[in-house]
């Protein structure tokens, strides 16, 4: 039996509109294998979606497994761990953005015997937070590079003592000139001028440069009939996950255990082992429930875990560090601000002749994930378009801002904003309809992207565009907007000053980690049969509120061919849980999904062999599995290896940059008030092809959430920096959208399965952050007849653009 391959071919081209179809489906909480009070019934299987396999868990709008516990307040976050005997930890930080650290002075009036203090000198292992490069110390020792750079740690019995101790440390610093402008950050190769300050990073402040070359772009541009240039800019963005960063460390035997909020438990294993100078086998990580991440809990928890571990190691006591909101916003990473320049050549009939993209990211004071964010930004810089001659030159540089890091989209949204805003301007220059310009140039199956990656049968982006045009009634709405604007003077009152516009964007998002990284991680998952006739699934994927637990269960059920109530999830503990890699890069449904399906199918085969023949009936199958479990170990392990034919040349940036790509086309209709500059989105249509919708309800939630987050980035979220410090680091002054700022969002999924994966799934989590900003800028351009090349587009920028 091979349900997936037949299911796969059946749903080629299948389309589903799921946004309107969210019913109250039953879920359950099977985590930890203790169904206990929680109901563990699987999803409602009333056949709203075609069955995929015997169990048909996949494709069902199964309610999130974590919701009931969360609604009941039973979920335990790190700050809910018992407090008895636990010290509270805090951080002594640099008060300046750049300087030489001369020393720390401890006020003798304070009784230092009551607290534990850790400075760089107390680090038993290496003073480095290992992410990609090794430039970030866990505690600064010779130089501080951003306002808030940690220089010492203190653990105390209570908050009040901690606060007094933190206040009793003076940090002696010889300030150095600070570097805040990324555009002038990179130093020439042989800097002849003796600059006032040493570089923030390396010899020239350049973290990484990536050049992608396809064909000969400069020659193509020289010959092009029309060349359009443009410069685009995007701002920093704060994650504002509900739960701030938090970690608790405790010695255990000869090692240490960490509990906290994170996306990547195995990153912590490595980081803490490096900091304490102990083997990784001595570091155990047991994640708590996490209240959101959006990328903000990819790299930062490694640093915080190092801090908590150092305090616990020295004090011999459990130590908890939970950031207050202001500390969290000020000192943890943000989305990379970007400056992107396009030069695009067209043939006389509006086909792409050549593209040149220069992209610059402000990486902040340490590299964290910047080298990888840059890679994704570079690969996405030329968008989902077919062009034989492309040159992309991308750089990420150091400044004295707090480190920038991962944020939903990981460089993709910046790239998409520039590409799609630019294309609307190109269309005007060419005298073409922006839709037509895209239709002429979007990739098709068999075309290659900028890195030379050849698209499979799922590379039909026109289908996505066409569907978005149809669903949004784009042409009709566009005419209605124009009519509304033309009739402005006939209206009285406030609406006389209202203008309407509609805009769209086409975009893509690479599934999983870039290039060879998935192969490098060799992610593994386990599935065991249990004696009670269920299947216990082990992965290191983290539930962040996005529904990971639920889809992991659905995917395992799909592989096994059982219903959801046959699945339970093993609690996550790196001592026993296999490393299935980080919960990032929109990879779980696709990459981990493949492993779960493989392991599930193999386990089914084993059970059937043990039984001596096929077992179509689920209860018989589960009874046989229980007998197999009783007879001995049943563990099936699936390990990731790159699919046949996958090839990526990291040095030259050629080949398969990702396993595949999800495609999106979003349409935004909006109204703008000429008097106040307010923009009010009226309606958003979000059409995307994600290969395989594992859970339509959760998938819709991802799209809606991503759209709202991107809407904030596009229209209001402004990080205000003064001397390298974010001054609006609180929820009063850093304004994000609330529910009443969100227009109706019409979500449509298409499924063009990725041939490389058994279930065809492509990434979803980050994709929705790419589409809204450029669609908004294009809609504003339609409404007002002016370009909006930088975000956020605040009321004030709209008013300023009028005079």
């Amino acid at each position: 039996m091979d349900a997936m391959s037949s299911g796969g071919s059946e749903h080629v081209g299948a389309e589903r509109i799921v946004a309107e179809r969210i019913d109250d489906h039953q879920g359950g909480d099977n985590r930890g294998g203790d169904p206990g009070g929680g109901d563990n019934r699987g999803g409602d299987r009333q056949g709203t979606i075609e069955r995929r396999s015997a169990g048909a868990a996949m494709g069902q709008p199964v309610r999130r497994w974590d919701t009931v516990a969360k609604l009941r307040g039973e979920t335990r976050f790190v700050d809910d761990l018992p407090r008895a005997g636990v010290l509270v930890g805090g951080t002594v930080r640099s008060p300046v953005p750049h300087g030489r650290l001369l020393g720390l002075r401890f006020d003798p009036a304070f009784d230092w015997s009551t607290v534990t203090v850790v400075t760089a000198r107390d680090i038993p292992g290496e003073n480095v937070c290992p992410i990609v490069y090794r430039d970030q110390p866990v505690l600064a020792f010779d130089r501080v590079r951003y306002c808030g750079d940690p220089v010492a740690l203190i653990a105390a019995e209570d908050e009040e003592t901690l606060q007094r101790a933190l206040d009793a440390v003076a940090v002696d610093i010889e300030p150095l000139a600070s570097l805040f402008d990324a555009r002038s950050a990179e130093l020439p190769p042989e800097a002849t001028v003796v600059s006032a300050a040493p570089p923030v990073y390396g010899t020239n402040n350049l973290y990484r440069r990536i050049e992608i070359n396809k064909g000969n772009a400069s020659e193509a541009l020289a010959k092009a009939a029309v060349v359009v240039e443009g410069e685009y800019e995007t701002g920093a963005q704060e994650h504002l996950y509900l739960e701030p960063q938090g970690m608790q460390a405790e010695r255990e035997g000869g090692g240490i255990v960490l509990r906290g909020s994170m996306q990547c438990p195995y990153y912590l294993v490595e980081a803490v082992a490096v900091n304490l100078g102990i083997p990784e086998s001595q570091v155990r990580v047991v994640p708590c429930a996490a209240g959101g991440g959006f990328g903000g809990k990819e790299d930062f928890p490694s640093l915080l875990a190092g801090h908590a571990a150092l305090l616990a190691w020295k004090s011999g006591r459990p130590v908890r560090m939970v950031y207050e909101r202001v500390e969290d916003i000020r000192y943890t990473s943000k989305r990379h601000p970007a400056w992107i320049r396009h030069r695009t050549g067209f043939t006389a009939d509006g086909r792409l002749a050549g593209m040149e993209v220069e992209l610059l990211l402000d990486g902040g004071a340490y590299s964290t994930l910047s080298p990888l964010v840059l890679q994704r930004a570079a690969v996405h810089a030329a968008g989902p378009y077919a062009c034989d001659h492309v040159r992309i030159d991308a750089r990420v540089v150091a400044t004295n801002h707090p480190p920038r890091g991962a944020f939903r989209g990981f460089g993709g949204p910046q790239a998409a904003f520039a590409m799609e805003t630019h294309l609307d301007r190109c269309a005007t220059r060419l005298g073409l309809d922006p839709v037509e310009l895209r239709r002429r140039n979007l990739v098709r199956p068999g075309d290659t992207l900028a890195t030379g990656q050849t698209l499979g049968a799922d590379g039909n982006v026109r289908t996505v565009l066409d569907r978005a045009l149809a669903e949004s009634r784009f042409v009709e709405r566009r005419a209605a907007c124009a009519a509304f604007n033309a009739a402005a003077d006939t209206r009285t009152g406030a609406t006389r000053f209202h203008r309407r516009g509609i805009g769209l964007s086409c975009f893509m998002h690479g599934t999983g980690l870039n290039g060879n990284a998935e192969g490098f991680f060799r992610s593994r998952v386990f599935i065991d049969a249990t004696e009670n006739g269920r299947f216990r699934v082990s992965t290191s994927q983290i539930e962040l509120g996005q529904g990971t637990e639920t889809i992991v269960a659905q995917l395992a059920a799909e592989g096994l061919g059982v219903s959801l109530d046959g699945i339970e999830l093993a609690p996550l503990d790196t001592a026993v849980t296999p490393n299935s890699g980080p919960t990032v890069a929109s990879r779980t449904a696709a990459v981990i999904g493949r492993l779960l399906i493989e392991a599930g199918r193999r386990l089914r085969t084993r059970v059937e062999q043990f039984h001596g023949g096929p077992l179509a009936d689920e209860s018989e199958f589960r009874a046989a599995a229980a007998r197999l479990a009783a007879a001995g170990a049943t563990r099936e392990v699936a390990e990731y290896t790159p699919p046949p034919g996958f090839a990526w040349d990291e040095a030259r940036h050629r080949g398969d940059a990702y396993l595949g790509f999800s495609w999106g086309c979003y349409v935004v209709e909006l109204e703008v008030d000429l008097l106040t500059g307010e923009t009010r989105p009226l309606d958003i249509t979000a059409v995307q092809d994600i290969g395989c919708v594992v859970n339509p309800m959760l998938a819709s939630g991802q799209v809606e959430g991503g759209v709202v987050q991107a809407l904030g980035w596009a229209l209001m979220e402004t990080a205000v920096w003064r001397d390298g410090q974010m001054v609006n680091a609180n929820m009063t002054d850093y304004v994000i959208p609330t529910a009443v700022d969100v227009p109706p969002i019409h979500v449509v999924f298409l499924e063009q399965p990725l041939e490389r994966l058994p279930h065809g799934a492509k990434g979803l989590g980050e994709l929705p952050h790419e589409g809204p900003a450029p669609a908004i800028a294009n809609a504003l351009r339609h409404a007002l007849g002016r370009d909006f090349n930088a975000i956020p587009i605040t009321p004030e920028t709209i008013l300023a653009s009028q005079d």
Binding site: A494, L675, T676, E678, V720, I736, T738, V740, D741
Partner: protein, 292 residues
């Protein structure tokens, strides 16, 4: 947050005496939607917190068309906008009460607390000025009254002396052919601090075509909420038409002395004053004509 003592007196005299005799800093607690946040974030300190919500006068809401509105200082905002008679008689006040926070906040937050917090951006303050409310202040030595327009003295400061508390706000009985409105500008649709705000009260002649009296007040564009005096003077006798509202907006801009900060620049705030004054005048006139 520092530890503090807590008292919940049941009479005004007891409250005044607690406030007057407390060593250190005593603070009044109404809905706590400003105070508790400020204490937690160490923006304000208190040695004694006096919860006044058990004093019956402080949570009264008494309205009659003849005597006007007596609004206890701690009455939560929702009681204003959920009361049809009060909302109809003082629409500017209801406009403000409705937008102070979301419904969780508005079921705690009071107009008295909004006023005593004395932020120039407080949403109910401009309506208090436009509606010509009077503040009844109680201390150990008895009761005194000041006009709402004279209550705030600087950002976060007001005329209350140690030992005094605001007991209630008194609004004159609604005049015929008169109405009011309040509007603010924020960069999203709810839950934010005003970048600028304006409240307008107008009274029309019997024919309803001429303004015979007007009070426009501005928020978030000066150290305290203030009346747009020049506009108010000019408005008397003007026809109730859009050109009048527009001109009043221009005049009101001259009364604004805003600062630039991360919510908006001086120019943007001044510009908004013009827009908001024009809009609130139009709304107030429309309401007056509709007989609200």
């Amino acid at each position: 947050m520092r530890n503090f003592d807590y008292a919940a007196p049941t009479s005004l005299a007891e409250a005044a005496s607690l406030l007057a005799r407390a060593p250190g800093t005593a603070r009044v607690l109404a809905g706590g939607t400003d105070l508790i946040v400020q204490l937690r974030e160490n923006v304000r300190e208190a040695d004694l917190v006096v919860d006044v919500k058990r004093i019956p006068e402080l949570t009264e809401l008494a309205y009659s068309a003849g005597t006007g509105l007596h609004l206890g200082a701690s009455t939560p905002c929702y009681r204003i906008y959920e009361d049809p008679a009060v909302s109809a008689a003082y629409p500017a006040l209801a406009d403000a009460a409705r937008i102070i926070g979301g419904w969780q906040i508005s079921s705690r937050a009071s107009v008295g607390g909004n006023l005593c917090n004395s932020s120039p951006a407080g949403d109910s303050l401009a309506p208090l000025l436009a509606l010509d409310a009077r503040c009844v202040i109680v201390g150990l030595d008895g009761t005194r009254e000041v006009a709402a327009a004279d209550f705030c003295t600087a950002p976060g400061r007001n005329v209350l002396a140690k030992g005094e508390l605001l007991a209630k706000l008194v609004f004159p009985a609604p005049a015929p052919k008169a109405s009011s409105a309040y509007e603010r500008f924020i960069p999203r649709n709810e839950m934010d601090i005003a970048v600028a705000g304006a409240s307008s009260w107008v009274q029309l002649n019997a024919a309803g075509d001429t303004i015979i009296d007007a009070r426009v007040a501005l928020s978030a564009v000066a150290p305290t909420v203030r009346l747009a005096t020049a506009a108010n003077r000019w408005l008397v006798g003007q026809p109730a038409v859009e050109a009048t509202f527009e001109r009043a907006g221009e005049l009101a801009r001259e009364s604004a002395s805003p600062i630039s900060d991360m919510r908006g620049t001086v120019e943007f705030r001044r510009h908004l004053v013009g827009v908001l004054v024009k809009r609130t005048l139009a709304t107030a006139v429309a309401r007056a004509l509709a007989g609200e």
